[in-house]
Each structure stands twice: as C-alpha cells, then as structure tokens.
Amino acid sequence: MSVPVAVAERMRSIDKSAEDTQQAPGLGWGALVALAVACIAIGAYSWSLIIRFGMQYTGLNRPVGWGVLITDFVFWVGIAHSGTLISAILFLFRARFRTAVYRAAEAMTVFGVMTAGLFPIIHLGRPWYAFWILPYPNQRHLQINFRSPLVWDAFAISTYFCVSAMFLLAGLMPDAAALRDGSQGLRRRFYALFAMGWRGTAEEWRHHGRAYLFFAAFATPLVISVHSVVSWDFAVSIVPGWHSTLFPPYFVAGAILSGVSMVITLLIPIRRAMKLEGLITMQHLDMLSRLVLLTSLIVTYSYSTEFLLALRGGASPERDTLLYRATGAFWPLFWLMVLGNCIGPLFLFLKRVRGSLLGLFAVCALVNVGMWLERFNIVVSSLEHNRIPFDWGAYHPRLAEIGITVGSFGWFFFWFLLFLKLLPSVSIAELKEEAAHDHHQEAAHAA
C-alpha cells in the first residue's frame, strides 16, 4: 500500500536530522566549542590556584565553610534531573511528547552529572586525597564513615551517572547502527563503538525494548533519590536554615524545575539552529512548560512552608536565619530568586506565553538564574548566621570561585556541543516508529 505524503514528509525530515550529524561542522559551532574550551581553561587555572596555595583563594572563612562551589554542585545535580525524568518517567507514563526531546535531555543529564561530580572534589581542602571517600581495602585498616551524607553523595552521584549513561547509550544503539551503516572510515569506527554491533534483527529489537523498559524502571527511583540525598547534605546537619525535614521533596521539585527549564532554554535555540522545528514542535515545548509551571508551584509552596515554620513561635536561631536570608546582606539575591522561581513561571498559565518562544525562553532562563540563587541563599545565609552571634560573618565570592563556575559551564557545553554534532540529537528510530505507528492507525481508520 502507498505511504501517505505527510508520513513520508516526516520520515524525510527525520532522516535529514540524521544526515546533519554527518556534515562538516559550521563556523558557529567551532566558535562555540572554542569559547567552551576557553572557559574550561579559566576554570582549570582557578582550581590550580586553590590546589597550590590553599582555600585562601576562595572567599570562604570562619564561619562560612561552603559557598559558590557547593552551590554549583547542587545546581548541576539539579540540571541533571530533567533528563531521566523526561526519558524514563514519561516513558513509563507513555507520554508521547517525550520522544522528540528525550535524547537531548538525556545527554544533558549525563553531562550535568559529569559537571556536578567535579565539585565535591574541587571544594576539598586536599583534593588529591579525594579517593579516601571511597570504600577500598587499604593496609592502614581505615574505613569510611557511612553515617556521613557526603559518603551517600559519592554513591548516589556515581550510581546516577552510571545508570543515566547506560540509559543514553542503550537508546543510542539503533541510531548509531544506522549512522554506522551510512558512513565509512573513522566515522564508521566511531559509530560502531556506540552501535555495539547492533544489526537490527527482530530479536535484538525485542531485547532492546525490554532492556530499555528495565532501565527506565531502574532510573525512575533515582530521580527521586539522588536529589534527596543531596538535600540531606544540608538537612542532616543542625545548622539553622538547613535542618529541615522539608528538604528532600523541596529539593527534588527544585531539581526538576531547574532541569526542565534548562532543557527548554537549550532546546529553543537548538531546534532553530538545527532546523528541527518539524520534530520538536510547539506542542512539545508546551507540555514541558506545563511541567515547569507545576514544579515551580511546588517550590513556591516549599518556600512559604519553610518561612512559616521558622516564623511561627518565638525567637529562634531558625527565625533569625530565615529573616536574615530575606533581609540581610544578600536580600537582592533572595528576591531575585523569588521572582525567578515563583513569580516568573506563573505567566505560564497564559497560553500566549507558553506559545511564544521568546516568552518561554525568558521565563526558563530566569528560572535557571533563580534556582542557582536558591542554592546560594540556602548554603551561604545559613552559615553566615549560625548559632553563635559572636561569629556571625559575611561571605563574598572571590575570582577563583567565579572562574571555576565559568569553567563548569564551559565543561558542560563542551560535551553538549560535541554531542550535538556527532550524535543524533533526536531519537531517529523512535520517531520513525511513531510515524509508522501513526500511519498504521490512519490506515486502520481509513479501512
């Protein structure tokens, strides 16, 4: 039977997106990569200062022991969240709109974790002993302390990295195979690596489907667990402003909010640059923006709960700390955060805003800023106003920390740009499957 034009049209555009990966990189792409590498260089130099001359190159002091570096860590872990959510959870919920966007989201996740994973090492006083945090047999009979949230972190992050990486690779296999078959020489070798000898037999498809489902099911709880663990870094301590049972759900919601916003902020330029409008449609973006709206509401709720709990009852260190957070040295940052995470997303109730690329981009970009500030406020303001007023202090980030932050963005985008160029940024196989599936349904209707 003949294939209707519409379907054929989509098939072609899908193939095109595959071909794009084959073409020689444009000038713009090269420039971006160069920029990213430059940022990495800045970050590397900044870190070398800290390694050589000690933490004096940061703005940290007594009593503020954590600052921008930990903020970055939490921020990037948050970024790393949407991927799994979109690809795994939505897959389990059979949310169709995911297919177009999940590949990019997953890549973001993997690179996000790769970035986040650096910070626990960077912020150490003696990073060259970072491996002591891992449980390995040693002649000194020394153990690690499983009661410490930092150890939980090490496990949570590494697990999350492995799983999300495997998930990404599993999804890539068929596409990589397709690309392998369509290329020669070094390229062929490269794709062969990702295809893992995929031949596309029915048997393989069956296994692949199962495996994919399994990974999805396996990754889903991680979405919740990872950021809960990260939140415990704070919640387990007794620092006023950290010590709160609210933190795990609050952080997870925040993570998804920041993650999805980041996906949108990245997708909008990508679909333009790579002409994927045909595949990543406004409807997809609309769905994602609803997710942003939902999580932002949860986050807003958490903020208010946090404050109400602190303010009720008489004077307490918690109360002082929270008030200080909103009115103290960093009050502009606090209110900018509220604007970004609570007020901005409210505009997504309006279809007009959800419909306009510019509006959507603005809201999500603002959320990204807001989420970074949220972590900064939590980390710094609480430590600045701890329990002993005599030690109340101030923290001002120094160049080295800012340099490392810049470097982390460079690192993240470096990998992301490579991914965009070398691997299909949308899932060809699944999109084709969908297209075919649509066609059959139409055919069925026709009959």
């Binding site: 954590w66 003696r126 009661r147 701890n386 202090g393």
Partner: protein, 946 residues
C-alpha cells in the same frame, strides 16, 4: 571492535601500572649521632628551667620548658608567690621576642648613616677608645649619662658602679620606665614621704573601687591581683567591684557597678567619696583619727557631672561596712596634677578606712632602682639639648619611641656625640646610636632580681644564646677592665651576680652552705623570705597641697589612653600579641581610636572610618571603633599606639574630624548576643543552691544513639564566668602550646584567625537612654568535646571521632578538608587551614615537637592539649600510679591567672571539676541542641549586696 585488542588493553594496563608504581619517595635521611652526649639531656624529653619574666615590672617566676635545647613554652613557677604559677599573655609571648626574626644577631657600629655588623672585640675597643678620649685629667668622663630601664638586681648594680666610676655627677644614671605609675609614687611621696608603689593583697578585700586602674590586666602586678581578687570573689562573701572612669576596661568589665564619669572627673568622685566618709553625719566607724583634719582641709563640694549624691552615698555606705576594702588608681598614663591628686585622694581614702597594711601594703616595693621621676628624664634630655651630654649609655630604654613627641627627644639625642645602645631589637633610639650592642634575651642570661622586699628571683638561662650577643653588664665590666676603672674588681658578670644573689638569699634566711643546697635554690629559682609591710604616718602638712588642685574637664572631647592586655596596636610587639584580637574591641594588627555610639552618631562616624585627631600638641589619623562602654565625652586610644605620641598625654582636649577615608580594620566579633543568653548571669539572690543533680541534668536529654562508653577517663572542664577576667592569657598560651600559626592582618580581615580558644565578648543591655547600664559579658569559647558531637557523624573519612577518653579528636593526616564538620559545629570552634602556615626563621624553633604542624586544607581544633594529657599519663605510669586530679592541665588552664578554668576527669568523683560542674551556677552552652558538652560554664554572679 577490532580497535580494542588484547595488546592495546595490555598497553593501557601497564602504563597505568607504571604511573601507580612511580609514587614519590623520601630522600634518604641522615642520622648524625653526637660525639659526646650532654648529661641529663634526653632527646624527646622536656627539661624545665626556672627563671623570671622580665616582660613588666611585676617579676613573675617562670618555668621554661625546653626540648632538645630549645625553649618551647613558658609557664608560671608554682613556687612563686607573685605569679603563683600563672603567666599573663605578655609573659607567654616573651618566647616570641626570644625567637624574634628581627633580633640583633651581633653588635653593630655606625658607618655613616648605616649601622653595620662589627666583631665584639672591635666594638669594645672602639667604645673604650672613645671613652678614653672623653676622659678628663681627673679620669672622669664629665657629661657621661646612662638611661636604663628599671633593673632591681646585679645588672642595675653594675650599671651604677660603672657610671659612678666614670662620672661624679649625682643623677648620672636615670631609670626610664614610661609605663611606671608615676602619679602613685608622687602621691605616696607627698603623703607618706616615700616614693614607692604599694603591694596589693586583694584576697582580704571585701570591696574594691578602681579609679581607672586596670588592675586585672596590666596595672602594678596584674597576675597576682587577678588571682587574689578572684580567690576572694569565689568566697562566701563576694567582694564588690566598683569601676570609676569614662571607659570600661576589661577590668571594668568585671565590675558590679560602673560610675560613668567624664574623663578627669574621677578626682572629683574620689574627693566627694572621701568627703562622705569623713563626714560625721554619716557615722562611719573606725576611721583614722586624722579624719577630722582631712575633713577640715577638703575643698567645697562639687558633684561631678552625671553623678548623683545618692551614688556617692551608696558607694560610701558600702565602703563603710565592707572592711577592709581597697581603692586603686589611677591608670598608668594618668599624668599631671590631676593624676597625682587622684592618686593622693585614693591613698588618703585607703588610709582613712584603715586599708593600709591590710589590703594596700606599703614599704614592700623594692628599694633597688626605683624609676626616676618624669622630670629627671626630661632633665637629661634638656642637658643633651644644651650639648652637655658627651656620652650616653642606653640600656633597653627608648625615649625616642616612648616619650611624647613634645619631649623633642630626637633633637636632644642628635646632640650627643657618643651613644652606646644595649638591647635586642633596634628601636627608634637605636637608629641614632653609634654603637648598637646586642644584648642577651632574658631567657639567655644570668641575673638576679628583687621585684619586692622579701622575694629574690634568679634569672637563669634556659637555652644557650641564639646569636652573637653579650650580656650588657658583661660588656660594661669588660669596658671597665679596659679603662681600668677604680672600684670595679669583678671581671665576670655571672660570678658577680652569683655572689650577689647568694648574699641576698642568705639575708632572706636561705640555707646555702652545701653545693646541694645551692642547687636546690637554683632549681626553685626563687627565695622567699619574710617581709612586713611598714606602717606609714600621714604627713598632714601635705593635705592642702593636693586637695587644692582642681581639674575642670572641658566640655569638648578628651583623650583617654588605656592599657590593653595584648598589644594589637604596638608595631613592635610579637605576632601573638598583635594577632589575638583586643578582647574588648576585637581589633587586631592595628591601632584605633574609640568613640561612644552617641559621639559617633553625632559625627556621622562608622567603624573603620579614618579619623583626624588634633590636640594642642599635635595631630594624627586613626581608624574609628565604636565602643558602647565609653563616655561620650571621651576619645580612647590604646597606650601602645605609636600615634598616641603625637597627641601627648591623657586629659588633653581632642578635636575629632572625619577624613572621608576608610581603613580596612581587622575587626572580629559581633557586638551582641542577640538575646541568646550564652554568657549567663545569675542575680545574687536567685542563685540556685548547690545540687548534685544539676551537673548531670543535660544527660537526661534523650539521644538516638547510646552515649559513649568512657572506660578509664572522661576529660572535662569547667569555666567560671564569675572569675574569667577576659585577659586572654589562655588564648596566647594555646597559640604557644599547639603551634598555632600567626596569619597576619589580611587573614584577620578575611575572618581566618586560627585561634582554637577565643574570648567572646558581647556588649549587653546597651541603651542610649542609660549608657551607664552597659555591661560586658565574656565567654571563653573552645571545643566543648561533646558526647554527641555534631561534627563527628558528618565526616566522610572518620578524621574526627570520639576517643575512649572523651576527647573529640581530629586526625589531621586523615582530614581531606570538606569543612562539613566546621559547618555543623554549633559552637564554631573548628578552624580550617586556609593556607600553609608560615613560621619565619627562627620562630619555627619555638614549635612544640609534641604537636603536628598542620598543612593547608585540613581542619584543626582544640584537643584539650592531648599531648599534655599523654605526658602526665606517662609520668603516672612511670611511677606506677593513676593520674592525680589536677595533674593534667591544658595550657589554658595552667596559665589562667584567675584560675577560672578547672580541668579534670569527670569519672573521678573526688575531682574538683566534678564538684564545679555540679555547682548551682553550672550550665552547658546551647543545651537545646543536646550535644552533651564536656565543658560546663558557671554563670557569672550578679553583684553582692552592698
């Protein structure tokens, strides 16, 4: 997949293997055994030497701990009745002046504008030759003068002999003590006919009134006074302390009442108080018979501004019933007629109340070498200005650096053709000298000292001289030999001082016949004989003289110079004294000027603004600090501040203006407790009675995990806030004992001071309405060694944990520097190494070999001086017994002059610390977080009933 073959894999594997195998390794170490091992010196074991502290005039006995020939720690000598085993912050820091990097390493001679090194022989020959030239036919060097610090011992004797052999002039040797209590001396001369200073026995005083005398910090004999006063305070009948003055010093912070007067009005308060006491209408019993005569001589009444007759009556009433009492004053830098008159009024009141001979003892101050009066010093400079001084010997005297600019010392000294200077570090005066002869440090030299009658202290070297230095007295003896001076027979100073102190010791009844007995005396380093206070009749004819004097403080701002226990403002002070913040203001590494909040507001000044201060004598610039415990009529400047020299003496009228510039002042410490009631006070009447349960109350707080087992010991501490004076001797002792690095002003600004133990000061109940109500609370803050320590569970690598002896341990070499423990410590007592520590040559010689020097990137904290615990345990084990209570003392406890800190084993029911922790006033810091600390604080008592 042909890419990843077995070979390729092997390559990778072996490459990584190689990388792993090439770990850095130690260069081979060399061992060089001694040729002949010295006796009684065992490497790895400490040796203790007794000597005396020359940091100030008090003369506390010192036990110097030496390891492998280097002195690593100074502690008070328990046999010494003055220091009583304690040392103040400055005494502790004497160690750093010994190892000061800028100490002279040999004699210097002037070469044009430069002072250049010269061999001793040459230096002596040249000085001898020059003196020889100056000698007249009669063999005298007319116009030879000597300016020396107070040397009550052989050194002084040698100097006197030398000078008198070279010049017939009467006052050729002037004793220069810029910090001496000249006013008190002058007053005593007038009233009792003797230029002497009293010795205080505050243990008997039931009330103390201080007219600006910081007697717990630097005034007279602070360590002794802190001990005796606080001993009395812990008694059943708690003496009341009243502070009269425009500014609360740390001594004032310990007061129960504060009569807050304008600068200069202290005299008026004293006179009105005296008037009230001698007024028959008030029926004060047992007054001295001269009371009537005194009353007759009193000037007409004039109440000082801001003081009500009721306050005077209240204080008078208190003094009339609380006998004996002690009135102290004035401050060291109080000067001029006002100061002397105040001193006289104070002494007269003591006399009337019969305190003399009970709490204020006269006739005990050393006969030897009393400091000369101010006039004599200025007189000498005047002579020099007239060009009459041909040769000037300076012994540890720095008129140029210490006298106010108005004395025009430089101009005078430039007229002197030959200046021979003795000292350790070049000072302002030394830069004008022809010869700068490097003297031994007190810890390197022999000598003897009679700080007061009945006490003889031996100065004995605790290490061999670090550099090519010589004892100044030895140099004088050598000169005397080359010049063949008549009457000086001794060649060797050590022999001279030995024969001298042995004579003195015999006089004090010491038994010295056998060499063994001699060694015992030297081992104790001190001879204490009996000396009785003299009863001094009042010279009534003196009365009109001072009661006539009037000081009428102007209405403008006036200069107040105050003493600080440390020396943040003194550029010449050792690092410890500069870095440890001034307890009251929190300033380190800088001088400053204090304004009251009201004045600051009026002038629109904020902390750190640079102020332009101007008196009739001169002008200078100082950064502002806001001090709520200061009278709005005063501008207070630390007496160590070099800028003070430009402004002149106390009591001057000052004009203060903003310069518009600001100065990054290293300032630490939030001013208030924010109502969190950390440093508690219990009102006298509400004081809970001693209950055995209280000490353990906190342990009722439930814990999820069972509390730790402590099989043998559970080390614990108690800190009595009623005794803590905030003098910070403990802080400096901690620096010395635990190798804490000095990190400098920038680190101080960044909030990165390394102190394990800090005095947290907070201004309480500050109200512009009633500034006189301002109170200062101090809280020594160190690791609480919690039983449920929040820092322990969060460390990922077990670098911190709870030891079987109850210590919260930090294993530096396991720490990876997450700083999580510091964040989670509710007491903020954990300290992070932001950079590698720097110990400038030869300061590293002071490092305690029993404690690791921590590197950058690791956390560190108070260990209760675990090395000292181990040492005591070792000694006990050696003697086959258990550790005795009080045998283990961390450095802070050991040196506390007020004995506010008690350390011991909480598992030993007999231990003092246990009874202390069960005291009714005991409480734990931040009990609400249920960390079960090992330290109990004893709340400060409210003032006793009048």
């Amino acid at each position: 997949m042909s890419g990843m073959g077995r070979r390729f894999f092997l390559k990778i594997a072996s490459a990584t293997g190689a990388a792993a195998a090439c770990s850095p390794s130690h260069a081979p170490e060399m061992l060089v055994p001694l040729l002949n091992p010295p006796e009684n010196m065992v490497p790895g074991k400490p040796l203790f030497y007794r000597t005396v502290c020359r940091g100030c005039g008090a003369g506390c006995g010192v036990t110097a701990r030496s390891r492998e020939g280097r002195v690593v720690k100074l502690e008070g000598s328990p046999d010494d009745p003055i220091g009583g085993g304690a040392l103040c912050a400055r005494g502790q820091a004497e160690l750093q002046s010994l190892y000061a990097p800028d100490r002279l390493r040999g004699p210097l001679v002037r070469h044009g504008t430069e002072l250049v090194p010269v061999p001793w022989a040459d230096a002596l020959a040249q000085v001898g030759a020059l003196l020889g030239k100056l000698r007249g036919a009669d063999g005298f060097v007319h116009g030879l003068r000597m300016l020396s610090r107070c040397e009550p011992g052989s050194t002084g004797a040698v100097q006197k002999a030398f000078v008198s052999a070279l010049t017939p002039a009467a006052k050729a040797r002037v004793v220069f003590e810029p910090r001496d209590l000249v006013c008190l001396r002058a007053a005593n001369t007038q009233l009792f006919g003797k230029a002497e200073l009293p010795v205080l026995d505050l243990s008997r005083a039931r009330a103390v009134v201080s007219f600006g005398a910081d007697f717990l910090e630097t005034w007279l004999s602070p360590v002794e006074q802190a001990r005796t006063f606080m001993a009395a305070r812990s008694g059943a009948d708690r003496p009341r302390l009243t502070w009269v003055g425009p500014r609360l010093s740390m001594s004032g912070a310990n007061a129960d009442d504060w009569l807050r007067v304008r600068p200069g009005d202290e005299l008026q308060v004293a006179i009105e108080l005296l008037r009230w006491l001698v007024d028959p209408a008030n029926r004060v019993a047992h007054l001295a018979p001269e009371a009537a005569a005194i009353r007759a001589a009193l000037p007409p009444s004039r109440m000082p501004q801001g003081i009500s007759p009721e306050q005077i009556a209240h204080l008078g009433g208190e003094l009339s019933v609380r006998r004996p009492s002690a009135l102290l004053g004035p401050a060291a830098l109080a000067s001029g007629g006002g100061g002397t008159a105040l001193a006289a009024a104070v002494q007269l009141t003591n006399f009337v109340l019969g305190n003399l001979g009970k709490t204020v003892l006269l006739g005990l101050s050393s006969e030897e070498d009393a400091p000369s009066a101010e006039e004599e010093v200025r007189g000498l400079l005047e002579e020099a200005r007239r060009g009459e001084v041909k040769a000037l010997f300076l012994h540890r005297a720095d008129p140029l650096g210490k006298l106010p600019a108005s004395a025009r010392a430089e101009e005078a000294l430039r007229k002197v053709p030959l200046i021979v200077w003795f000292g350790e570090r070049l000072d302002a005066t030394a830069r004008l000298a022809q010869f700068a002869l490097a003297d031994h440090h007190a810890l390197e030299s022999f000598g003897d000292l009679e700080p007061r009658k009945g006490i003889l202290e031996l100065q004995q070297p605790a290490l061999s001289p670090l550099w090519d230095t010589r004892a100044s007295s030895q140099v004088l003896l050598d000169l005397a030999a080359t010049l063949a001076l008549p009457g000086i027979v001794d060649k060797d100073f050590h022999e001279l001082s030995k024969s001298r102190w042995q004579a003195a010791a015999k006089a004090l009844g010491a038994e010295l016949d056998s060499p063994h007995a001699q060694r015992n005396v030297q081992a104790r380093g001190i001879v204490v004989g009996r000396a009785l206070a003299a009863a001094r009749p009042l010279r009534l004819e003196a009365l009109p003289w001072f009661l006539g004097t009037r000081v009428s403080p102007g209405d403008g701002l006036q200069l107040v110079a105050f003493a600080t226990t440390l020396a943040s403002a003194d550029p010449e002070a050792p690092g410890w004294l500069r870095e440890v913040p001034d307890a009251l203001t929190g300033v380190s590494w800088s001088s400053w000027a204090e304004l009251s909040p009201i004045t600051a507001q009026r002038l629109g000044v904020k902390a750190g603004n640079l102020l332009a201060l101007r008196t009739e004598e001169g002008a200078t610039e100082l950064p502002a600090v806001i001090n709520p415990a200061l009278h709005e009529g005063a501008v207070a400047v630390p007496q160590e501040a070099p800028e003070l020299r430009a402004l002149g003496a106390m009591g001057r009228a000052v004009r203060v203006e903003r310069t518009g510039k600001t100065f990054a002042l290293p300032l630490t410490g939030h001013a208030s407790q924010e109502g969190r009631d950390l440093a508690r006070v219990v009102p006298r009447d509400e004081e809970p009675k001693h209950d055995h349960d209280h000490g353990h109350k906190h342990e009722r707080g439930g814990t999820l995990v069972p509390p730790h087992e402590h099989p043998k010991h559970r080390w614990a501490m108690s800190i009595d806030l009623d005794k803590c004076t905030g003098c910070q001797a403990c802080v400096v002792a901690c620096y010395a004992e635990n190798n804490l690095p000095v990190v400098g002003p920038q680190a101080a600004r960044d909030g990165r001071l390394m102190a394990w133990l800090r005095i947290q000061r907070s201004f309480e109940s500050i109200s512009p309405a009633a500034p006189a109500e301002t109170r200062i609370a101090v809280l020594p803050s160190l690791c609480q060694h919690c039983d449920a320590a929040p820092c322990e569970p969060v460390c990922p690598v077990y670098a911190t944990y709870h030891t079987p002896e109850g210590l919260n341990a930090q294993v530096y070499n396991r720490c990876i520097g997450t700083r999580y423990c510091a964040n989670n410590c509710p007491y903020d007592v954990r300290v992070f190494n932001w950079a590698d520590p720097v110990f400038v040559e030869p300061l590293q010689m002071q490092l305690n070999p029993d404690v690791s020097v921590r590197s950058k990137g690791v956390m560190e904290k108070c260990t209760f001086c675990v090395q000292r615990i181990r040492y005591a345990e070792g000694v006990a084990r050696g003697e086959g017994r258990e550790v005795r209570d009080g045998e283990v003392t961390p450095a802070c406890v050991q040196t506390c002059p007020a004995q506010a800190l008690v350390f011991g084993d909480a598992k030993d029911p007999q231990a003092r610390v246990v009874s202390q922790q069960q005291d009714g006033r005991a409480y734990r810091l931040l009990e609400e977080v249920n960390t079960l600390p090992a330290i109990a604080y004893l709340a400060r008592r409210g003032g006793g009933e009048p």
